[in-house]
């Protein structure tokens, strides 16, 4: 395979990625992050999101599959990749540098693209000062420092693992605004894992839902959200005449003859329901958060 790094069309391409642990297997997973896009990886705790992000940044060996970042192989071209990609994760610890100013001076030396003016702007926005002792910063402020060190590099790729945990609503909004600005020229790419689903619904161009190491659902955020409906209906005698229900219809709750279900509009579920003897069928839009809960629960409560 001969991919030219400079004119690679996609920011990140993950193909058939597999990572095996004794008690957990991630994959095979395929994810494509186009340039200019923010890709949100969502899923319940322990689904494999962090494992996937770590692999992209070259932390750990994958057992199968390829990962290309701007056309660069994530292992063979590791140095070039790390110059162009930045990673923010929950375990980064800058306490050794003592004060914020010292951490900044240390990190910026590695990166020729460091943008000092932008760094100063982010400092003001995040209300950090060079004199702040890192050890005494709040959890949220440490996260902001971590984001500041990544963003100020103006990297081509941002890999962010739970970057808004512990941030207040305003700071969260500021971070996402900066991510929007980062991709606006259509060159860079952001891969982000987060539980801030209403934020991702707004800001992420693409969503991948990962559950027990497998990608359950992937696509454009608006199309995913639009594809499903919350269905409510009544049955005359309290049973769905013909069972089991078809694919695309997941019963969520039932109270006597009243039913609530998740309906996939890409399936024949609605046609099927209408062919059954159901009454007062209403379909309502879901938020990404509603959809997440319904889909994750669905596979958990399979009898």
């Amino acid at each position: 395979m001969n991919t030219h790094a400079s004119n690679a069309t996609n920011a990140i391409e993950i193909c058939g990625l597999v990572k095996r642990y004794p008690a957990f297997t991630l994959g095979p997973v395929d994810i494509t992050v186009p340039r200019g896009a923010i890709y949100g990886l969502i899923g319940p705790n322990g689904a494999g999101k962090t494992t996937a992000l770590d692999m992209v940044f070259g932390l750990g060996h994958n057992d199968a599959g390829t990962i290309r970042v701007l056309g660069l192989d994530h292992r063979a071209d590791q140095v070039a990749l790390k110059q162009r990609a930045a990673y923010v994760g929950p375990d980064l610890n800058f306490q050794l540098w003592g004060r914020v100013g010292k951490a900044i001076r240390f990190v910026r030396g590695f990166y020729p693209g460091w943008d000092e003016a932008y760094c100063a702007e982010l400092m003001r926005m995040f209300q950090l000062t060079p004199n702040d002792r890192i050890a005494t910063l709040s959890f949220g402020a440490k996260t902001k420092l971590s984001l500041l060190l990544a963003l100020s590099r103006r990297p081509d790729i941002l890999i962010l693992d739970e970057p808004t945990t512990g941030l207040d609503a305003l700071s969260k909004q500021q971070v996402f605004r900066e991510l929007l600005k980062a991709v606006e020229e259509g060159e860079r790419g952001v891969l982000i894992s987060s539980h801030a689903l209403s934020d991702l619904e707004r800001f992420a161009d693409h969503i991948g839902l990962i559950k027990q190491g497998k990608l359950l659902l992937e696509g454009r955020t608006d199309e995913i959200v639009d594809r499903f409906r919350f269905a409510e209906f009544f049955t005359a005698n309290g049973t769905i005449p013909q069972s089991p229900e078809p694919a695309g219809l997941t019963i969520l709750k039932r109270d006597d003859n009243r039913w609530q279900a998740l309906l996939d509009q890409n399936s024949d579920a609605q046609k099927w329901l209408e062919s059954q003897d159901v009454q007062n069928l209403t379909l309502t839009r879901l938020t990404l958060e509603d959809l997440f809960v319904a889909l994750v629960k669905e596979t958990e409560t399979t009898k």
Binding site: G36, I38, Q173, F176, R177, L180, K181, V183, E184, S198, E201, R202, F203, A204, D205, R220, T221, D222, V225, D226, R285, T287, L288, E289
Partner: protein
Amino acid sequence: MTNPRQNFLIGPISPAAAGALYQQIVDRIKREIAEGRLAPGAALPSFRQLAESLLVSVITVKRAYEELERDGIIFRRQGLGTFVAEGGHDRSRETKLAAAKQLLRDGFREAAEAGLKSHELAELAHDILKEKK
């Protein structure tokens, strides 16, 4: 053709509100046009500007603009920007009327389900109209 207004305030939009995010943008812009705050020829913000001000992905704004363009409410000029079309006002009004009709239908259905008879409904509509004045 004029420059985009400094404060193009059509937000906020929210995943928690009714309708898809792009649809909310479509509806807000139509309302601006129907109510005369955006005249024919007026410039709209760029995708990026509006995405940043509404805090949504650029894809969302793009989709909203594409729909407005398809309906002949706005038009794009390569390199110049996006503008309100000549017939944009009337077409926005049509959609507003259609929306109003639907809301009235829904309202009448609710009232009928609550047991109101036709003549009571007419009275109710009359009372609401008087309230408005």
